[in-house]
Amino acid sequence: MAEIVPLGQAVAELVGDGDTVALEGFTHLIPFAAGHEIIRQGRRDLTLVRMTPDVIYDQLIGMGCARRLVFSWGGNPGVGSLHRFRDAVEHGWPVPLELEEHSHAGMANRYVAGASGLPFAVLRGYVGTDLVEQTPNIKPIACPFTGEVLTAVPALVPDVTVVHAQRADRAGNVQMWGITGVQKEAVLAARRALVTVEEIVDELDARPGAVVLPSWALSHVSPVPGGSHPSYAQGYSVRDNDFYIAWDKISRDRESFLAWMAEHVLQAAGREIR
């Protein structure tokens, strides 16, 4: 059964230096507050996993929390580049960042394999691309019945997966709706799972499109209203598109980035940016 604990305690208990950590979310429900708490707690040498690393990963990378990134698309959606990500890859600042690069289909199926207790997944993908030469984690596999050759990728099994959801009940059962991306698979693939939620309620009444993560499949649940800002939580907030645009300027320059992080994240324990 999941324990309902404050965010600081949850991150302290679940995320350690050198861990493989997936903070998933597909534009919607991105766990920004949890990422900020990881930064405040000064975690290092993390292997960050995510299909679509965006601003929160730019922040984790720029603050030197990550040694390695496993991903399929890294950008500021609808805006442009992730400058901290590029600076780390192109100039090793503040620390070098190893990359393991996949396609969305490959990453999604790697989470599915992890959630299914399988060591690998099979897909029609990667063939003919240069991605294949850049990692040992893309291999051909033959169908035992037809002989057709397809592609195998290993399961993703994060030490910790963190996602944000709309709500949980007092037993720690979590309910999310709207675009839920690959979050269920990412949670079930992980050894430990943390879900931050907009609110704790007495009763999770049924809702169209709702996905429920039972308490017994989770480690901790932490109430963090607005915990996905500048991303959004359908039914609770809308996406702060202006912030994503503003981030492009804030993050272009190392000093302005550090200054912004100091003011809005490091000194913001307890109160989250709005």
Partner: protein
């Protein structure tokens, strides 16, 4: 996302009163979508073109966004692939693994839109790195996203990209997504099930693969652009068909709808 994010519009080579080069490019892309087709769209110009088509000649167009929205009918242009309006208006919201496995990989999608940071004569696409050394790239791009499997599995692919020698290169620095590979027969040899790129729509005109050589040839120029401009904007000796035609200019109806869409982009974004 299936490529670098779009920049802002700029006028075509020859300044044409009445519309911008990006408007012409978007209108041309929208016209390439037949009514009833199932279309896999990323954010930016493809999403704009698809929504323009849905409001003009292709009301039955089915929009599939990789965030997991099947049959989305957004009443304004989403600013992100995961905009709430997509879930609110979709016939069905599914998981990301399901989008890629049950819908894309299975061959159910008619048209996929792709963009490119680099593109070669066989419409192979690079959205990963600029520079010869992957480990030390001159420019680190966003990466593959859904593009490799869109390029592999959609029945056909339409590439929309601005034309200039930096983008239209003799050899892509990194092959992120396969067009026609090294030429005729390669897609079959690689086991790719879709037919591959049907056309490349740029701000200057339209390129289409030669049915025999698979090499992209200039088949159309947009009003105000010239064959010479297109050739100059291409990093390989561009073949030009004998019967290059001129694209019909955007109709007043197309322009009105397009500008209304742009004006209301991401409507509710950040206005909470």
């Amino acid at each position: 996302m299936t490529g670098p994010a779009p920049g802002t519009t700029r006028p075509a080579g020859g300044e044409v009163p009445g519309w911008t080069a990006d408007e012409m490019m978007t209108v041309a892309a929208s016209r390439a979508l037949r009514n009833g087709a199932v279309c896999f769209v990323g954010i930016g110009l493809p999403s704009t073109a698809a929504n323009l088509a849905r409001r003009t000649h292709a009301p039955e167009l089915v929009l599939v966004y990789e965030s997991g929205t099947l049959g989305a009918k957004p009443d304004y242009l989403p600013l992100s692939i995961g905009d709430g309006i997509l879930a609110d208006t979709a016939d069905s919201v599914i998981t990301v693994p399901e989008v890629f496995n049950y819908w894309l990989q299975s061959g159910r999608v008619d048209v996929g839109f792709l963009s490119a940071a680099q593109l070669d004569r066989y419409a192979n696409i690079n959205t990963t790195v600029v520079g010869d050394d992957y480990a030390h790239p001159r420019v680190r791009l966003p990466g593959a996203g859904g593009a490799p499997e869109i390029a592999a599995s959609c029945r056909e692919v339409i590439v929309v990209v601005r034309q200039n020698p930096r983008t239209f290169v003799d050899r892509v620095d990194f092959r992120t997504s396969v067009g026609f590979g090294g030429g005729p027969g390669d897609r079959g040899r690689l086991g790719l099930r879709g037919a591959g790129p049907r056309m490349v729509i740029t701000d200057l005109g339209v390129l289409e693969p030669d049915p025999h050589t698979c090499e992209l040839r200039l088949t159309r120029v947009h009003p105000g652009a010239t064959v010479a401009q297109a050739v100059a904007a291409t990093g390989w000796p561009l073949t030009v068909t004998d019967d290059v035609t001129e694209t019909d200019p955007p109709s007043p109806a197309e322009l009105t709808v397009l500008r209304e869409l742009e004006a209301n982009k991401g409507q509710t974004g950040g206005r909470s």
